[in-house]
Point group: C3
Chain length 354, copies 3
């Protein structure tokens, strides 16, 4: 299907020397070579940049036909083509690809089909795309990009160079910092799930806080971040959230933490800094997770975690019949444990008959 594909994104061309300078890296080989694309080690050709971040792929490095490869000092000797020597080839690849394929900013202005309230403040360098709605008292700062059919509520602030790709909804009073990137379908500032039970019926608790998002945050598609009940929900600088994540009211996510898809964080739970949460993790409410905690995908977290380190929960996949047996036995675990204790007691009596 892809035969005639003409991507709308094309790389800017840089020489190996220019890329190396951008990365503050040393070059072994031809510095003058021009690079105009990135590619994987097995597929890269002349004029394309690749990287080796996993030693196990060393055979791919040895056979590569890439124009240049980002490698560590240690691996450089195995590189059959021009080597750009860096400490962290994966991060260097990210930076080089960011240089070659920079985010495109639209020509500033408000699309005639956008619906912008007279009392909204739009920086002259910002772009408001087709069908976008910007309500009163919203502030859209310099170079911000509000994509097609986004909705920006009353009194919202969108910081400099922040991009909402398309169909993003930001409810009233929320604040997004600078250089954020928010993918389509994401909702920020929906009401927290505050419900008080009154004789079997639920009374809604008005959600009066906001969502406050720092700088350099990326948020995936169809994620939902609820506003706080009284105080704010807070996403600190440099956080990375994937798709379909649920962030409940009054959650706080520490700086430079990363959370994979479909993970859910219940109300008032605080995640530390530089944590890594896998996908479909579920966290109960009112927990505190320390800095530098790593939680395996699909884990359930019902208690606070005080120490940095790696954690997990769950059971392994098995062929259906075997799983049904394991699963049935799980219910007998307490009984099994008691039977073992009983056996130990009896055996001890046999061992030392008085």
């Amino acid at each position: 299907m892809a035969d005639s594909f003409q991507p709308s994104i094309k790389a800017t061309t840089y020489s190996v020397a220019q890329i190396a300078e951008h990365l503050k890296a040393r070059v072994i080989g031809d510095e003058s070579q021009m690079i105009s694309a990135v590619n994987s080690l097995p597929e890269a050709q002349t004029g394309e940049l690749s990287f080796l971040s996993d030693k196990r792929l060393l055979p791919q490095l040895k056979a590569t036909q890439a124009g240049a490869v980002l490698v560590t000092e240690k691996m450089a000797e195995h590189c059959p083509v021009t080597a750009i020597v860096v400490d962290n080839p994966y991060a260097a690849y990210a930076r080089a690809a960011g240089l070659l394929y920079p985010q495109r900013f639209h020509i500033p202005g408000i699309h005639p089909s956008a619906i912008v309230d007279d009392k909204a403040s739009i920086d002259i360098t910002a772009w408001i795309g087709p069908g976008a709605v910007v309500e009163a008292d919203a502030v859209i700062e310099a170079d911000a990009q509000i994509g097609p059919n986004c909705v920006i509520g009353k009194n919202v602030r969108i910081g400099k160079r922040t991009t909402l790709v398309a169909s993003v909804t930001i409810n009233y009073d929320c604040e997004l910092g600078e250089r954020n990137l928010v993918h389509p379908g994401t909702v920020i500032g929906s009401d927290g799930f505050g419900q008080a039970n009154d004789n079997g019926k639920w009374v809604k608790i008005p959600q009066l806080g906001r969502v406050i998002i720092g700088d350099d945050v990326e948020i995936g598609a169809n994620t939902a971040i609820d506003r706080g009940a009284i105080k704010d929900t807070i996403i600190e600088d440099g956080v990375r959230l994937d798709n379909l994540i649920q962030i409940a009211h009054n959650v706080r996510i520490g700086a430079h933490s990363v959370i994979a898809g479909q993970t859910g964080i219940s109300g008032s739970t605080h995640i530390g800094k530089q944590c890594m949460l896998g996908g479909t993790v579920a966290l109960a409410g009112h927990l505190t997770i320390a800095d530098n905690v790593m939680i395996a995908g699909r884990s359930e977290v019902r208690q606070s975690i005080e120490k940095p380190g790696a954690y997990g929960s769950g059971t392994p996949l098995e062929p259906m019949k075997k799983w049904l047996k394991s699963s049935a036995r799980f219910k007998q675990l307490d009984e099994m444990s008691k039977r073992i204790s009983e056996l130990e007691k009896k055996l001890a009596q046999l061992d030392s008959p008085s």
Copy 2:
């Protein structure tokens, strides 16, 4: 970041006496005091209302500087400031906050950028926001609020005072009752997942039912509720659904049940009344869950539940290395159980050697 924040929502001011009257509550202390905000016990100041719903926070009550506090009869003696005595302080707080921060209704009318079919019927007191689309034969009743970029399909009914915040999509023929509140990104009336296998290929089964939603229902952000296959999917009065929930075709949710984020309910499962389901619970299809069932977050439900009560499933979080061991042993559970039985048999033979 929040220093200069001027929230767009401000409380209406009421005297303690007026709030107490609204709650049918007794006041101990200064009834004439004016209240113009709510706050937590540790942070509340003069002029602010707080509440004590958890005995463990009694020290916070004793130290509070709130203007007035909602407390039970039993706790009133410990309240250092004006006490508003109620049976259920959390529900009373919900009601008082609802009084102080009432839902704001827009000035009635159809925004010039809204696209309303000539054959739609819009009550003169309803509001249709910017960029909203209302298709033919849709009925929008009195005081209904259709927010920016919502899509209301053909022949949909939106009941009185029901609010769709923004970017909500309601497909054709669905009915929402009165006083509903639906948060952004939610989809109601998408096709149920009906697929018939025909020699390895899937044939779509037309989904001919609707979604019918009662009165006083709240639905969170980015939730999806599928229309029925032949009959309807039904959400009864007073139900509360959180964000990113999946409701499959022909599900029925009983009145005043509450379901937390990311829970998924498979086709034709019926949930009773006044149930409480935690977040990320998964329910198989064609189940019946009794009234007054509570299911812990992240549980999996593969069988019907006939008795009211609390249920759960899942395994606890452990440090990674320990978890990997527990997880590996899970596969051996059936074998372990058999080894215990074997030991018991042998020991019984040793015990009573014939």
Copy 3:
């Protein structure tokens, strides 16, 4: 509530003979009868078509008042009304319902409120609905239906007769084949979650691939499909995806596989052909799942699956107190296993005292 319901969808009327001809089926009974609706066995009346796909519902067949019923040869003798004899009654029902309730196509044209870039190419038979945005170089093929408030990015291709119901967002460069059906709120082509860690901070990896979707694919509501990092994310022909699914970058889903709601597939995992994944399944990244694999709902998959067959994981629901015991014992599994081994050793010594 439903008493006065006038559905906007009405069936086209066909005779039993016409339906049987469409299905290449044999009729036992009155071929001239007119059918103008479908219904379940217990509720169907004269003029309505039903089906029996599950032997356990035989009593319903015996009591039915339907106009005609789709049955297998074996069940035909028990049918008290006109029988349409087919090999696979459920698939036959799907086809017959598709005949009676065909997808409605809009009158071709671009709604005056749609915002279509001059450089987009819209087939004269396609429909672009109210508030939809179509960006430059997009190609909308014959009979494609772009519903209200959809966003079609730059250089996107939407194949013939493909329908985006409403509020669907397709990012730049992605390709959808023919006869696809995409439900509201779904996002296709959001950036993959590529982040490189550089001394505790995350550097975004530009996502340069696309999403390529084959023909005859159905995708539910609020699902997210990320574009590839370098190569493309690929959904093959005939795949069926339910609501709120997460498809990460560089995933490949084999032809005619079906995936239920809220399942998440991590980056670079390849699912085979004709697989069936239940709801809320979580798959780790870089796995390969063979063809014809069935995975039970809520399973976690951390390793590749090489053999066709049925698999599952997870633990059963229990009353809360019992579950808490089972769950606590889970942590002791490794210790329990060792205690059993110790007991076996001791017993062996007792058995054969040297």
